[in-house]
Protein backbone atom coordinates (compact mmCIF):
# COMPACT_ATOMS: atom_id res chain seq x y z
CA UNK A 1 0.00 0.00 0.00
CA UNK A 2 1.34 3.39 -0.84
CA UNK A 3 1.93 5.92 1.89
CA UNK A 4 -0.93 7.89 0.42
CA UNK A 5 -3.30 5.01 1.08
CA UNK A 6 -5.14 6.55 3.98
CA UNK A 7 -5.25 10.10 2.79
CA UNK A 8 -7.61 11.99 0.60
CA UNK A 9 -8.46 10.28 -2.66
CA UNK A 10 -8.68 12.17 -5.92
CA UNK A 11 -12.40 11.71 -6.24
CA UNK A 12 -14.22 14.37 -4.30
CA UNK A 13 -17.88 13.63 -3.77
CA UNK A 14 -19.84 16.72 -2.83
CA UNK A 15 -20.46 17.08 0.88
CA UNK A 16 -24.07 16.23 1.72
CA UNK A 17 -24.11 18.39 4.85
CA UNK A 18 -23.04 21.96 5.47
CA UNK A 19 -21.72 23.58 8.66
CA UNK A 20 -24.57 24.36 11.06
CA UNK A 21 -26.83 21.57 9.81
CA UNK A 22 -28.38 19.27 12.41
CA UNK A 23 -27.60 15.57 12.11
CA UNK A 24 -28.16 12.35 13.98
CA UNK A 25 -25.58 9.57 14.23
CA UNK A 26 -26.90 6.34 12.79
CA UNK A 27 -27.62 3.47 15.16
CA UNK A 28 -27.19 0.56 12.77
CA UNK A 29 -25.10 -2.36 13.95
CA UNK A 30 -21.64 -2.97 12.57
CA UNK A 31 -19.32 -5.91 12.45
CA UNK A 32 -15.62 -5.26 12.55
CA UNK A 33 -13.63 -2.06 12.33
CA UNK A 34 -15.61 1.14 12.68
CA UNK A 35 -14.60 4.67 13.68
CA UNK A 36 -17.99 5.84 14.91
CA UNK A 37 -17.90 5.51 18.71
CA UNK A 38 -20.77 3.62 20.31
CA UNK A 39 -21.45 6.38 22.81
CA UNK A 40 -22.42 8.76 20.01
CA UNK A 41 -24.84 6.51 18.16
CA UNK A 42 -28.34 7.91 18.02
CA UNK A 43 -27.11 11.27 19.35
CA UNK A 44 -27.99 14.56 17.74
CA UNK A 45 -25.35 17.11 16.83
CA UNK A 46 -24.52 19.82 14.35
CA UNK A 47 -21.93 19.94 11.60
CA UNK A 48 -19.04 22.08 12.83
CA UNK A 49 -16.68 21.63 9.91
CA UNK A 50 -16.28 19.70 6.66
CA UNK A 51 -12.83 18.11 6.82
CA UNK A 52 -12.67 16.80 3.27
CA UNK A 53 -12.68 13.36 1.73
CA UNK A 54 -10.97 10.32 3.12
CA UNK A 55 -10.96 6.67 2.20
CA UNK A 56 -13.44 4.60 4.17
CA UNK A 57 -11.63 3.02 7.15
CA UNK A 58 -14.28 0.31 7.43
CA UNK A 59 -13.07 -1.01 4.08
CA UNK A 60 -9.41 -0.04 4.37
CA UNK A 61 -9.19 -2.17 7.50
CA UNK A 62 -9.87 -5.25 5.38
CA UNK A 63 -7.44 -4.55 2.56
CA UNK A 64 -10.06 -2.94 0.35
CA UNK A 65 -9.28 0.33 -1.44
CA UNK A 66 -11.65 2.19 0.87
CA UNK A 67 -13.75 3.47 -1.98
CA UNK A 68 -16.05 5.21 -2.40
CA UNK A 69 -14.20 7.72 -0.26
CA UNK A 70 -16.29 9.35 2.45
CA UNK A 71 -16.65 12.97 3.36
CA UNK A 72 -15.47 13.43 6.93
CA UNK A 73 -17.13 15.95 9.25
CA UNK A 74 -16.41 17.44 12.61
CA UNK A 75 -19.68 16.98 14.46
CA UNK A 76 -20.43 19.04 17.54
CA UNK A 77 -22.55 17.66 20.38
CA UNK A 78 -23.89 19.26 23.50
CA UNK A 79 -22.52 17.24 26.38
CA UNK A 80 -26.01 17.24 27.89
CA UNK A 81 -27.24 15.53 24.69
CA UNK A 82 -24.54 12.87 24.86
CA UNK A 83 -24.85 12.07 28.57
CA UNK A 84 -28.08 12.11 30.56
CA UNK A 85 -26.29 13.11 33.74
CA UNK A 86 -23.47 15.29 32.42
CA UNK A 87 -22.08 16.98 35.53
CA UNK A 88 -20.77 20.17 33.88
CA UNK A 89 -22.47 23.36 32.67
CA UNK A 90 -24.78 23.46 29.65
CA UNK A 91 -22.19 25.26 27.52
CA UNK A 92 -19.80 22.30 27.40
CA UNK A 93 -19.44 20.42 24.12
CA UNK A 94 -17.86 17.37 22.61
CA UNK A 95 -16.66 17.16 19.02
CA UNK A 96 -15.87 14.02 17.07
CA UNK A 97 -14.91 13.27 13.47
CA UNK A 98 -17.63 11.24 11.78
CA UNK A 99 -17.81 9.93 8.20
CA UNK A 100 -20.79 10.87 6.10
CA UNK A 101 -22.30 7.38 5.86
CA UNK A 102 -22.93 7.52 9.61
CA UNK A 103 -24.85 10.80 9.47
CA UNK A 104 -28.61 11.12 9.07
CA UNK A 105 -30.29 14.43 8.29
CA UNK A 106 -32.51 15.94 10.97
CA UNK A 107 -35.16 18.08 9.37
Amino acid sequence: MSVQGRRQSNKRPAARFAPGEAVRIATRPVLGHCRTPWYLRGKMGTIAQVHGTFRDPERLAYHRPGLPAQVLYKVRFKQSEVWDRYPGPAGDHLEADIYEHWLEPLT
Binding site: H51, D92, L94, D97
Partner: protein
Protein backbone atom coordinates in the same frame (compact mmCIF):
# COMPACT_ATOMS: atom_id res chain seq x y z
CA UNK B 1 13.28 -21.02 33.13
CA UNK B 2 11.00 -19.56 35.72
CA UNK B 3 9.72 -16.04 35.08
CA UNK B 4 12.55 -14.38 37.00
CA UNK B 5 15.20 -16.45 35.33
CA UNK B 6 15.82 -18.28 38.58
CA UNK B 7 15.82 -21.84 37.41
CA UNK B 8 16.86 -24.31 40.02
CA UNK B 9 16.44 -27.51 38.10
CA UNK B 10 19.54 -27.52 36.03
CA UNK B 11 22.26 -26.25 38.25
CA UNK B 12 23.69 -27.48 41.44
CA UNK B 13 24.72 -25.68 44.53
CA UNK B 14 25.85 -28.30 46.94
CA UNK B 15 27.36 -25.83 49.29
CA UNK B 16 24.15 -24.05 50.30
CA UNK B 17 20.40 -24.35 50.24
CA UNK B 18 18.15 -22.09 48.19
CA UNK B 19 16.71 -19.94 50.86
CA UNK B 20 18.78 -17.01 49.70
CA UNK B 21 18.89 -14.13 47.34
CA UNK B 22 21.94 -14.34 45.22
CA UNK B 23 21.66 -12.75 41.82
CA UNK B 24 20.79 -15.35 39.24
CA UNK B 25 18.79 -12.72 37.43
CA UNK B 26 19.10 -8.94 37.40
CA UNK B 27 17.00 -7.30 40.15
CA UNK B 28 14.88 -5.60 37.51
CA UNK B 29 13.31 -7.84 34.95
CA UNK B 30 14.18 -7.19 31.33
CA UNK B 31 11.21 -5.61 29.60
CA UNK B 32 11.24 -8.23 26.87
CA UNK B 33 11.97 -11.21 29.09
CA UNK B 34 8.45 -12.65 28.88
CA UNK B 35 7.09 -14.96 26.23
CA UNK B 36 6.76 -13.48 22.75
CA UNK B 37 3.18 -12.38 22.08
CA UNK B 38 1.14 -13.04 18.96
CA UNK B 39 1.38 -9.42 17.80
CA UNK B 40 5.14 -9.36 18.21
CA UNK B 41 5.39 -12.48 16.06
CA UNK B 42 3.04 -10.95 13.53
CA UNK B 43 5.10 -7.73 13.42
CA UNK B 44 8.29 -9.68 12.94
CA UNK B 45 6.77 -11.81 10.19
CA UNK B 46 5.39 -8.80 8.31
CA UNK B 47 8.63 -6.86 8.74
CA UNK B 48 10.70 -9.78 7.44
CA UNK B 49 8.40 -10.17 4.47
CA UNK B 50 8.52 -6.46 3.60
CA UNK B 51 12.32 -6.59 3.64
CA UNK B 52 12.48 -9.90 1.79
CA UNK B 53 10.22 -8.66 -0.98
CA UNK B 54 12.12 -5.43 -1.32
CA UNK B 55 9.24 -3.15 -0.23
CA UNK B 56 11.32 -1.64 2.57
CA UNK B 57 14.88 -1.98 3.71
CA UNK B 58 15.96 -2.62 7.29
CA UNK B 59 17.73 0.76 7.16
CA UNK B 60 14.49 2.53 6.22
CA UNK B 61 12.67 0.89 9.13
CA UNK B 62 15.46 1.84 11.54
CA UNK B 63 15.44 5.39 10.18
CA UNK B 64 11.68 5.68 10.77
CA UNK B 65 12.06 4.40 14.33
CA UNK B 66 14.78 7.00 14.88
CA UNK B 67 12.58 9.71 13.40
CA UNK B 68 9.74 8.89 15.79
CA UNK B 69 12.17 8.76 18.73
CA UNK B 70 13.55 12.16 17.77
CA UNK B 71 10.14 13.81 18.03
CA UNK B 72 9.34 15.47 21.30
CA UNK B 73 7.00 18.07 22.68
CA UNK B 74 9.76 20.64 22.10
CA UNK B 75 8.71 20.63 18.47
CA UNK B 76 5.12 21.46 19.30
CA UNK B 77 6.27 24.10 21.79
CA UNK B 78 8.27 25.84 19.07
CA UNK B 79 5.15 26.02 16.92
CA UNK B 80 3.02 27.40 19.75
CA UNK B 81 5.59 30.05 20.66
CA UNK B 82 5.74 31.19 17.03
CA UNK B 83 1.97 31.47 16.94
CA UNK B 84 2.07 33.56 20.13
CA UNK B 85 4.52 36.09 18.74
CA UNK B 86 3.32 36.19 15.15
CA UNK B 87 -0.46 36.67 14.62
CA UNK B 88 -0.18 36.10 10.87
CA UNK B 89 1.58 32.80 11.51
CA UNK B 90 -1.15 31.85 13.98
CA UNK B 91 -3.81 32.46 11.33
CA UNK B 92 -1.96 30.27 8.86
CA UNK B 93 -1.46 27.59 11.52
CA UNK B 94 -5.18 27.45 12.26
CA UNK B 95 -6.16 27.45 8.61
CA UNK B 96 -3.48 25.31 6.96
CA UNK B 97 -1.65 23.44 9.69
CA UNK B 98 0.46 21.31 7.37
CA UNK B 99 1.69 24.33 5.45
CA UNK B 100 2.39 26.36 8.58
CA UNK B 101 4.38 23.51 10.11
CA UNK B 102 6.36 23.12 6.89
CA UNK B 103 7.32 26.79 7.22
CA UNK B 104 9.18 25.84 10.40
CA UNK B 105 10.78 22.87 8.68
CA UNK B 106 8.48 20.37 10.37
CA UNK B 107 7.34 17.50 8.19
CA UNK B 108 4.34 15.74 9.70
CA UNK B 109 4.30 12.95 7.17
CA UNK B 110 1.38 11.85 5.10
CA UNK B 111 -0.49 9.46 7.36
CA UNK B 112 -2.74 11.97 9.07
CA UNK B 113 -4.02 15.50 8.69
CA UNK B 114 -3.46 17.94 11.55
CA UNK B 115 -5.75 20.48 13.16
CA UNK B 116 -4.92 23.11 15.75
CA UNK B 117 -7.67 24.11 18.17
CA UNK B 118 -7.27 27.41 19.95
CA UNK B 119 -7.95 28.07 23.60
CA UNK B 120 -9.62 31.42 24.20
CA UNK B 121 -11.01 33.18 27.27
CA UNK B 122 -14.28 31.43 26.40
CA UNK B 123 -13.15 27.94 25.30
CA UNK B 124 -10.82 25.39 26.83
CA UNK B 125 -9.99 22.48 24.51
CA UNK B 126 -8.89 18.99 25.49
CA UNK B 127 -7.87 16.13 23.21
CA UNK B 128 -8.49 12.41 23.42
CA UNK B 129 -9.12 9.38 21.25
CA UNK B 130 -11.73 7.07 22.70
CA UNK B 131 -11.33 4.43 20.00
CA UNK B 132 -7.62 3.80 20.38
CA UNK B 133 -5.05 6.41 21.31
CA UNK B 134 -4.51 8.66 18.29
CA UNK B 135 -1.99 11.34 19.20
CA UNK B 136 -0.02 13.97 17.27
CA UNK B 137 3.26 12.06 17.64
CA UNK B 138 4.94 13.98 14.85
CA UNK B 139 4.63 17.15 16.96
CA UNK B 140 4.58 15.87 20.54
CA UNK B 141 6.60 12.66 20.45
CA UNK B 142 5.59 9.42 22.13
CA UNK B 143 2.38 9.87 24.18
CA UNK B 144 2.40 9.55 27.96
CA UNK B 145 1.02 6.29 29.36
CA UNK B 146 -2.00 8.02 30.91
CA UNK B 147 -3.09 9.36 27.53
CA UNK B 148 -3.41 5.79 26.29
CA UNK B 149 -5.11 4.53 29.45
CA UNK B 150 -8.71 3.39 29.38
CA UNK B 151 -9.35 5.57 32.43
CA UNK B 152 -8.35 8.83 30.71
CA UNK B 153 -9.95 7.99 27.37
CA UNK B 154 -13.28 6.99 28.84
CA UNK B 155 -13.50 9.51 31.67
CA UNK B 156 -12.42 12.62 29.80
CA UNK B 157 -15.45 12.45 27.51
CA UNK B 158 -17.94 11.74 30.29
CA UNK B 159 -16.58 14.12 32.92
CA UNK B 160 -13.91 16.34 31.38
CA UNK B 161 -14.00 18.87 34.20
CA UNK B 162 -13.46 16.13 36.77
CA UNK B 163 -10.46 14.80 34.85
CA UNK B 164 -9.04 18.29 34.25
CA UNK B 165 -9.34 19.07 37.96
CA UNK B 166 -7.13 16.05 38.67
CA UNK B 167 -4.52 17.72 36.46
CA UNK B 168 -5.00 20.96 38.38
CA UNK B 169 -6.93 22.66 35.59
CA UNK B 170 -10.28 24.15 36.59
CA UNK B 171 -11.91 26.26 33.89
CA UNK B 172 -14.63 28.54 35.32
CA UNK B 173 -18.24 27.45 34.73
CA UNK B 174 -18.64 30.20 32.16
CA UNK B 175 -15.81 28.82 30.02
CA UNK B 176 -16.85 26.11 27.56
CA UNK B 177 -14.92 22.89 27.95
CA UNK B 178 -14.66 21.36 24.50
CA UNK B 179 -13.52 17.75 24.20
CA UNK B 180 -12.14 16.63 20.84
CA UNK B 181 -12.47 12.90 20.25
CA UNK B 182 -10.05 12.28 17.38
CA UNK B 183 -11.92 9.34 15.97
CA UNK B 184 -10.73 9.45 12.37
CA UNK B 185 -7.98 10.74 10.08
CA UNK B 186 -7.13 13.94 11.92
CA UNK B 187 -4.76 14.62 14.76
CA UNK B 188 -5.35 17.52 17.12
CA UNK B 189 -3.12 19.81 19.10
CA UNK B 190 -4.24 22.57 21.45
CA UNK B 191 -2.97 26.11 21.01
CA UNK B 192 -2.97 27.33 24.62
CA UNK B 193 -3.40 30.96 25.58
CA UNK B 194 -0.21 32.94 26.01
CA UNK B 195 0.39 33.42 29.72
CA UNK B 196 -0.04 36.89 31.12
CA UNK B 197 3.11 38.72 32.07
CA UNK B 198 5.10 37.45 29.09
CA UNK B 199 4.72 40.48 26.90
CA UNK B 200 8.39 41.13 26.31
CA UNK B 201 9.52 37.50 26.37
CA UNK B 202 11.58 36.01 23.57
CA UNK B 203 10.17 33.28 21.38
CA UNK B 204 12.63 30.77 22.86
CA UNK B 205 11.68 31.70 26.44
CA UNK B 206 8.01 31.38 25.54
CA UNK B 207 8.58 27.94 23.99
CA UNK B 208 10.07 26.80 27.29
CA UNK B 209 6.71 27.51 28.96
CA UNK B 210 4.76 25.29 26.59
CA UNK B 211 4.44 21.82 28.08
CA UNK B 212 3.30 18.66 26.39
CA UNK B 213 0.18 18.54 28.55
CA UNK B 214 -0.72 22.11 27.67
CA UNK B 215 -0.89 21.02 24.03
CA UNK B 216 -3.16 18.09 24.98
CA UNK B 217 -5.31 20.43 27.05
CA UNK B 218 -4.61 18.94 30.47
CA UNK B 219 -2.42 21.84 31.58
CA UNK B 220 -2.23 25.59 31.21
CA UNK B 221 1.13 27.17 30.58
CA UNK B 222 2.05 29.64 33.26
CA UNK B 223 4.87 32.13 33.54
CA UNK B 224 6.95 31.57 36.63
CA UNK B 225 6.98 34.52 38.99
CA UNK B 226 9.23 37.04 37.32
CA UNK B 227 11.04 39.52 39.50
CA UNK B 228 9.26 42.42 37.89
CA UNK B 229 5.49 42.38 37.96
CA UNK B 230 5.38 39.13 39.87
CA UNK B 231 2.22 40.27 41.60
CA UNK B 232 0.48 40.47 38.25
CA UNK B 233 0.94 36.77 37.68
CA UNK B 234 -2.45 35.20 37.28
CA UNK B 235 -1.87 33.02 34.24
CA UNK B 236 -3.36 29.83 35.55
Amino acid sequence: MSPNGHDHDDHDHDDHDHDHAHPHAPPQKDHDAGPVGAYELLEEAVRSLLIEKGVLTAQEIAAQVDLMDSRSAALGAKVIARAWVDPAYKRRLLKDTRGALAELGIDIGTLAAFRVVENTPKVHNVITCTLCSCYPKMLLGIPPAWYKSLAYRSRVVVDPRGVLAEFGVEPPQGVEVRVHDSTADLRYIVLPMRPKGTRDWSEADLAALVTRDSMIGTAIPAAPGKPKGASKRKAA
